[in-house]
Amino acid sequence: MRWRYLLYLLVRTGVTTRYRNSVLGWTWSYVRPGAQFLVFWVVLGLFLNLNRDIPNYPVYLFSGIVVINLFSEAFKNATTSIVNNAPLVRKVFLPRQLFAVSAVVVAFIHFLPQLALLLIVCLFMGWIPSVSILGVLAALAAMIIVSLFALGIGLFFGALNVRFRDAENIVELLLLLATWASPVLYAWTMVQEAMDKLGWPDWLVDIYLLNPITQGVELFHYAFWRPVTDTTLALPPDLAWNTLWTFLIAVGTLLLGQLVFRRLEGKFAQDL
């Protein structure tokens, strides 16, 4: 890998300059998800009574939020990475995918403090004796799936964004939907119940569960929330198989993103 050193430096630059000239610095990495968590907990947990339906709702909520945050940050950064590095893209020849890859890696590094927070909370609630190897593997799988998926669509929209800046707005919209399209704030069984009530076919639920982000969230619930909670909430069907399928979907997205990126790459220098 001829460009590994450059990737390392790009990641380091992204991490160290992110909070330059801000007094609170890295604290912001906690403040944002913290505020998000508080709002959802108060509104949905207390006002709308989800606290009662889902036991241990704060942990349920937070383990979902961190996954969504990882995805949002990685996806958004990757999308804008090409345009943000316009001077380089226009003047120096280097593999432009590096910018998207480094954006995702930087997002992942920012996700680690949040993961640590979640871990600490879970440790206090007695995570250690009840967690299995499978749980740890599930958490790892979730991070891999979500990162690959974010990189894939990030490459796709990043390449489009060079010519059509609409891409950035579409991404904002998708991210807004992403939080609600996965069982972060509610339980997946509510989707099942709604489908039953409306009389819609069951395969819609399967499709819903095949969303890589949904899978990531469910795997995190499995890894962090279930071990510390006494619950009767059913596991999503085929959680193990869906891990494989969503992994393949994420890899497919990555290949598609790379393909589109390669197609459009030749025009980057003149369109920026």
């Binding site: 450059l6 120096v92 280097l94």
Partner: protein, 245 residues
């Protein structure tokens, strides 16, 4: 070019065309309006019209021409930043472009960090940069400011450091675009010597410049481009005379 035929070509530009599409319609509304009025929403501009050029190893070539004649486009095609619409560009060895140096500088990082970052952007590995770091800083003559953030640099200091990094990259082909006017007179002299050194090492040098004095000193061959076509290729004096007219 009877003497050059013996050596290997370093850059081959074969029938290269480059068109730029100029979009007049910038939004969906514009597109609809233009469509209703049956006006064209885009026009093409031919920057290069089937250009052929062979540059051999160890040659130093000046590409001359008026503004907008396609010189910089040609350089970008050789460096690989752009792809031609038709034809082929082949290069041998490591190509480094001094096309607007300092593109990869990050204002929030210190001079030292920027040296490493920029050298890596230009394709250097960690070991190579570490070996040459002292040389790079010494050449730029800004040792005392090297740990300051680059945003506090004067434009002269900035250009010196950027240029110094670019010139120390291990390369076979060096593309130079209008940056010979870097810095003050002593620094310019230093750059000129450095270029002379590279020529002596049998590196291939392609220079785009309007500074005829510099070009005359560095280059042996001149290529004049006008409206995307080669109109002169030969001795540097002839090229300069043609452009000066």
């Amino acid at each position: 070019m009877s003497t050059a035929t013996a050596s290997r070509p370093s850059i081959v530009v074969d029938g290269v065309r480059k068109n730029f599409t100029l979009n007049h319609a910038l939004s969906f509304k514009d597109t609809v309006v233009a469509w209703i009025r049956r006006r064209k929403t885009s026009s093409t501009f031919e920057a290069l019209k089937g250009l052929d050029l062979v540059i051999n190893e160890g040659e130093s070539v000046a590409i001359l021409g008026l503004n907008g004649s396609g010189k910089s486009t040609l350089l970008k095609l050789i460096s690989g930043v752009m792809e031609p619409d038709a034809g082929e560009v082949l290069t041998r060895g490591r190509v480094a472009g001094l096309i607007e140096v300092g593109a990869g500088f990050h204002p929030e990082l210190s001079g030292r960090e920027n040296v490493f970052l920029n050298a890596a952007i230009l394709g250097m590995q960690r070991k190579e940069v570490e070996e040459r770091y002292d040389e790079i800083v010494a050449f730029s003559e800004i040792e005392q400011f090297i740990d300051q953030e680059v945003k506090h640099y004067s434009s002269g200091m900035f250009m010196r450091l950027a240029f110094s990094v670019a010139i120390h990259v291990e390369l076979d082909v060096l593309l130079v675009d209008e940056i010979l006017s870097v810095g003050d007179a002593p620094f310019r002299e230093k750059c000129r010597l450095k270029f002379g050194e590279l020529i002596a090492q049998k590196k291939t040098l392609v220079v785009v410049s309007h500074d005829m004095e510099m070009v005359r000193e560095l280059c042996t061959r001149g290529v004049v481009i006008n409206k995307g076509e080669v109109v002169y290729d030969g001795e540097i004096e002839g090229a300069i005379a043609l452009v000066d007219e």
